[in-house]
């Protein structure tokens, strides 16, 4: 029976080509625009570390003075050196890492490559196991190496290709700012999206830094810190004295494997703040927070407002296109009252007529969806042409592809419901009489 309905649908659609084209085009435009923006939104609001992110937390304490104090305001977005070190040394979490960003001049051994600046991350040993960073060659550094300010470096695959032609470079020496660092590890491809661990770099969807150096080593070798530095009181953002300055400039992450540990850690942060206040370092009443990774992304509104706005706009657009299609289908189905009346009189039940009309709207949906998918690919291609840091990420996944078809056919079937229902309410006798 389905084959017959399909045949009827195609005949009917062919009868009025302009109108069919209009309906298909409207659906396609709506679907294309929605899918483009939804794909971008989906990519940007994704979980950077699926499976791990729920156990990662971003502890915050408030070491500022009473200047500009307002109750209920969030603690600073980063931690100061003393707090970072205290929390790190206390080892109250399952894993913990303190980090900050920087920029270093890499001096390649090869004469044919000019010195160049590279973004760097200065961090502590737990960074790699905590964030499940994959290694291509070698290993991360150890806590002992952190302590010893070891001259070691981990580089990304990209930098390894550039400097060592992709060969296993473990044991090689990398000269950074006149310091000789031994390569102990090369990362495999790793691009957490968004780049959650430091939201102060201005490109939350960029690639990771190319150079990873122990935090202690970076301080010892005077590597330049780069990123946001927020100071209060008489603080100044000077790199050399950053350890003692009243400034926050480091990010601190912990891994807490159970809800009980999370609660305990929150307690600990409050106790820590009270203790620091008793010591005279903190002045404000304890103001702590412990958001998990995805909460931290929300708090910082990582997904650009424009992207969300575009998505809503596209969905509104799709809605108008659907209303348009419903109206056209309604007119079309009702116009065929005579034909439907004959079918009913010849024995087709209401249900069968209804099915026939739904098949017709399904065909429109399928055609609109396919065409819309093409438009979505064009749309994503256009997005990738944009200079934003997330441009390269705008690719459609298999899941989104399936979703597109479901959305297209689903919405058109939904749009076909009302017209089909109205059309099968026709009293056959009346239609036959008026013929």
């Amino acid at each position: 029976m389905f084959g017959y309905y399909l045949d009827l649908a195609l005949r009917s659609l062919r009868r009025n080509k302009m109108l069919t084209a209009l309906m298909v085009l409207a659906i396609a435009l709506g679907i294309g625009a929605s899918m483009t923006t939804l794909t971008v939104l989906h990519v940007l609001s994704g979980d950077p570390l699926p499976g791990t992110s729920t156990t990662l937390f971003y502890p915050q304490v408030d070491p500022r003075d009473m200047d500009g104090y307002e109750e209920g305001k969030r603690p600073p977005e980063q931690v100061s050196w003393p707090d970072g070190q205290n929390l790190l040394q206390a080892k109250r979490a399952d894993r913990q890492a303190l980090m900050t960003g920087g920029s270093v001049a890499v001096q390649p051994a090869q004469a044919n490559i000019d010195p160049f600046f590279s973004d760097a991350r200065y961090t502590t040993s737990d960074f790699f196991p905590m964030f499940k960073v994959p290694f291509l060659y070698g290993r991360p550094w150890s806590a002992q190496e952190d302590e010893a300010k070891a001259r070691v470096v981990v580089i990304t695959r990209t930098l390894n290709e550039k400097l060592f032609a992709g060969k296993n470079s473990v044991g090689q020496t990398l000269r950074i700012k006149d310091a000789a660092l031994q390569v102990i590890g090369v990362l495999d491809d790793w691009r957490p999206t968004p780049r959650f661990y430091d939201l102060n770099t201005g490109s939350n969807y960029g690639t990771t830094e190319d150079v990873f150096v122990p935090l202690s080593t970076s301080r010892d070798a005077h590597f330049a810190h780069d990123g946001s530095t927020d100071c209060w009181g008489s603080g100044g953002g000077d790199d050399e004295h950053a350890e003692t300055a009243p400034c926050v400039w480091l990010q601190y992450w912990v891994q807490l494997d159970s809800p009980a540990k999370v609660a305990a850690y929150r307690e600990y942060l409050v106790h820590y703040s009270q203790e620091q206040k008793a010591l005279g370092r903190f002045q404000r009443p304890p103001n702590v927070d412990l958001p998990n990774l995805m909460e931290w992304m929300d708090i910082n509104k990582v997904v650009p407002g424009d992207v969300r706005l575009q998505t809503w706009l596209a969905l509104g657009f799709l809605l108008v296109c659907l209303v348009n299609t419903v109206g056209l289908m309604l007119a079309k189905f009702l116009r065929r009252a005579g034909e439907l009346g004959v079918r009913r009189a010849l024995g087709a039940s209401k249900r069968e007529v209804f099915m026939q009309l739904l098949v017709e709207s399904g065909v429109i949906g399928l055609a609109g969806g396919s065409f819309g998918l093409l438009l979505a690919f064009v749309g994503l291609w256009l997005v990738r042409k944009q200079p934003s840091s997330y441009a390269a990420l705008a690719h459609m996944s298999v899941g989104m592809l399936m979703f597109t078809f479901l959305l297209a056919v689903g919405t058109t079937l939904l749009a076909g419901l009302l017209p089909a229902w109205r059309a099968c309410q026709i009293t056959p006798a009346l239609q036959l009489k008026s013929q």
Binding site: L22, G68, F116, K177, G305, L313, G316, G327, P387, L418
Partner: protein, 409 residues
């Protein structure tokens, strides 16, 4: 023209009427808000920087190695000397930043040293005595820095210059209606006396977080020496921008090759700076424009389609009316009026929807309130669109001959 028969006819097409009205309402709501967003973005990206944009370019030179502060200062002064001699260069100044750069040094300004709340936020520009002339700023009160007032500092020192030049916008915030020259403001490190006021100088960021202090800038008479590198703002002789840009980079490398000037953003003309700063705003405005046009087209096509059906359905009735003496004009006017009724209903609902949508966006996207003008423009636009769209089917209806009344379908 009687409206009653139209209404009773529409009552027989409730669903179709409702759908067209809905479509018009939704289109109106979206287009109104889209136009408003376009207007906001365009207004935002046409804000003036206050500088002589056509003739300015910026060089970002990063030092290789780890020179100390004194060495950096010496190198900067050598570079300035070299740049000044490049053909086509009118003036040059070192700075830590420039308008529309996106990031830099923002700080708080206070009027008393022991004040708890800041009086204002401000963008901090480090400069020498050539800053005002290089950027083409207009000094409206007081004087420029003297050469002997220019110091140099690195990040270690506190920001407490003896003298500063500020913008008019900052004066209006701090000392409304007063003469600011000679007054003292407190920066993070200590007090500074205002010696001059410039008319207009935009902040380095045009993002929303910086909108509170968009034109409140403080110019500091210091060269900021960071081992990482610094910016040279260069004003070229009119018409010699391109050649000066090339020559300047060449001259800098000839002077001192131990530096990195990035290929893609090491040297930027100010028009590049501007288009980079407003990339997303321009993109958004274009996108909104395209969506609006397509949306209007879809709605117009929908109206044409649906009305055509109605005309086809009513051929017999039209024939009867014609046979009973109605003129072509009457038929035409019938369909036009019918559409006007539907569109008006839709537009009325659309205006409410647009307001609701805008209020929702105000809470979610830091938008401003929609002004009445947009609602009026939007409503008129859709009514005209409806009338335009219905014209073709209505004309076809008016050509239905009276003899149609006697034919069976």
């Amino acid at each position: 023209m009687q409206i009653k028969p139209i209404l009773s006819a529409l009552r027989r097409h409730k669903a179709g009427t409702f759908l067209i009205a809905m479509q018009i309402a939704l289109t109106l709501a979206i287009v109104c808000n889209a136009l408003f967003i376009i207007h906001q973005r365009i207004a935002h990206l046409s804000e003036p920087t206050g500088i002589d944009e056509p003739n300015i370019f910026v060089i970002k030179s990063e030092w290789v190695g780890h020179p100390d502060s004194a060495r950096v200062d010496a190198m900067i002064r050598e570079d300035l000397q070299v740049l000044r001699q490049v053909a086509g260069v009118q003036n040059v100044t070192p700075s830590n930043s420039y308008p529309l750069r996106g990031s830099g040094w923002d700080d708080s300004v206070k009027l008393k040293p022991d004040q708890l709340q800041d009086s204002s936020g401000a963008t901090i520009y480090f400069a020498d005595q050539n800053f005002i002339d290089t950027l083409g700023l207009k000094l409206i009160a007081g004087r420029n820095f003297r050469a002997d007032e220019i110091g140099h500092m690195d990040m270690r020192y506190r920001l407490a210059p003896p003298v500063v030049i500020v913008t008019k916008a900052l004066v209006q915030k701090l000392f409304p209606g007063e003469d600011a020259v000679g007054k003292t403001i407190y920066l993070i490190g200590g007090p500074g006396t205002i010696v001059g006021v410039v008319d207009l100088l935009q902040a380095q960021s045009v993002e929303r977080w910086a909108s509170d202090f968009a034109y409140r800038s403080v110019i500091i008479p210091e060269r900021l020496n960071i081992s990482l590198g610094s910016f040279y703002i260069v004003r070229a002789q009119p018409g010699q921008l391109d050649s000066a840009m090339h020559a300047a980079v060449k001259a800098l490398f000839a002077q001192n090759p131990r530096r990195v000037i990035n290929d893609d953003d090491g040297v930027l003309s100010f028009s590049d700076v501007r288009s980079r700063a407003y990339e997303s705003d321009r993109g958004m405005a274009i996108l909104m424009g395209v969506i609006s046009v397509v949306l209007l087209a879809v709605t117009a096509a929908g109206i044409v389609g649906l009305t055509s059906f109605w005309v086809g359905q009513r051929r017999k009735q039209i024939g009867v009316r014609r046979a009973l003496g109605a003129t072509r004009r009457d038929i035409l006017r019938y369909f036009m009026t019918e559409n006007l009724l539907i569109s008006s209903g839709g537009a009325l609902f659309g205006v409410l929807l647009a307001i609701a949508m805008n209020l929702w966006m105000v809470t979610r996207f830091e938008m401003h309130r929609l002004s009445l003008t947009y609602l009026v423009i939007g409503a008129v636009m859709l009514l005209l669109l409806g009338q335009g769209a219905v014209l073709a089917p209505a004309l076809r209806a008016s050509r239905v001959p009276p003899v149609e009344a006697t034919r069976s379908v």
